[in-house]
Symmetry: C2
Subunit: 221 residues, 2 copies
């Protein structure tokens, strides 16, 4: 007996301890729990058990439960910023590039939608504002500029509202990943990289051509 699965039950500093290992294990366990449940719903003891260490380690390494949460968020934000680099840095960002790159990133980082929902859609005040400024504004103005350019060049129809058109493209691209459980349950698909690619090609074509059959149709309304 004497539970062996949770934490070492010998007191004192263990042989060959380096610290960094425990720190990383805690960060990973924190990510798993905090992305699944909300801050208050996760206990320090739960996280510590998942990481296989004593609960006091959270305070030892991160000062407090909140400190661990913040460290985890900063870890993910760093990963996100790394990913977003894939969108380049031009003044404009074509809808094709946006759609393909975003689909791939969302499929590659399944934790992303949950993270955004928690940090942007649900959190209040400063956190939300910072996240929005940090990411939305990283590509939204560029995507908008690209759409405006295509409208004024006559490539896109001139009666289009650029802002609404941008929202449309974002909805086409992002919604399936936000609604992942519904998609997978109702449509019997898996949102993996393959499906994401198929989806983004479909989205681009629908965005550009619409659904109507060009060869004069009719249809019973």
């Amino acid at each position: 007996m004497s539970n062996g699965e949770t934490s070492r039950n010998t007191v004192g500093r263990p042989a060959g301890a380096e610290g960094e290992r425990v720190r990383l294990d805690l960060l990973e366990a924190a990510r798993q729990h905090f992305l699944k449940s909300e801050f208050k719903a996760v206990s320090v003891r739960q996280i510590a058990e998942s990481a296989g260490v004593n609960a006091a380690m959270v305070n030892y390494y991160f000062g407090s439960k909140q400190g661990l949460y913040i460290a985890m968020v900063e870890d993910l934000v760093a990963k996100l910023e790394e990913s977003v680099k894939a969108l380049g840095e031009d003044h404009t960002l074509s809808v094709e590039d946006f759609s393909r790159t975003y689909s791939r990133l969302l499929a590659e980082n399944p934790w992303w939608p949950n993270f955004i929902i928690r940090e942007v859609l649900f959190s209040e005040g400063e956190t939300r504002e910072v996240m929005i400024r940090r990411f939305a504004s990283a590509f939204a103005p560029r995507l908008l500029a690209s759409i405006k350019q295509d409208i004024s060049s006559g490539h896109y129809r001139e009666e289009l509202d650029p802002a609404l058109t941008m929202i449309s493209m974002m909805g086409l691209t992002i919604f399936p990943f936000l609604a992942k459980p519904i998609m997978e349950s109702v449509l019997n698909v898996t949102l993996d990289a393959d499906f994401a690619e198929q989806l983004s090609e479909h989205n681009i074509e629908l965005f550009q051509q619409g659904v109507l059959n060009a060869a004069g149709s009719g249809g019973t309304s």
Copy 2:
């Protein structure tokens, strides 16, 4: 002193008490709190204070905190089912009807997206399955049938994948409301009924015609 704002501080049954009033006040306060924060993050005391009654009333009327939560969910589900009746009961559901009706419903019930995110996207197991069966399956098959019909009749392009096309329409319609804080912050708009209508007309047109200018264009890719 002797706090007068929270709960009556005279003991015993108050004159003219009917019970139903307190019950409804608690339900409303519960909705406000539970849709903003997660179950564990909301205390019975908070809810009771918002409703202006003693915390013990939660247990008196609903048995437990969880009982109150369930009662609140059932209340909202009933309201949702009432709303969904607006989608009719035909075998098929046109994308136009879906887009217009859904946009209106989402704008009229601002709590809906938050509620769905909590109950469907975040909750686990049974609750999620029940919600998906109860709503998604109430219109998804009908929308799909309508799209399939338009494809086989030649009204829509035949190379379209019906399932992906349905997802597209759902994304166009629902995403702006899910991402409400981002929309309002980045785009400087308010997601009211007016904007919802404008949005759904835009979506229908984009869905049908796409963005390309029919009169032979070109564009520098």
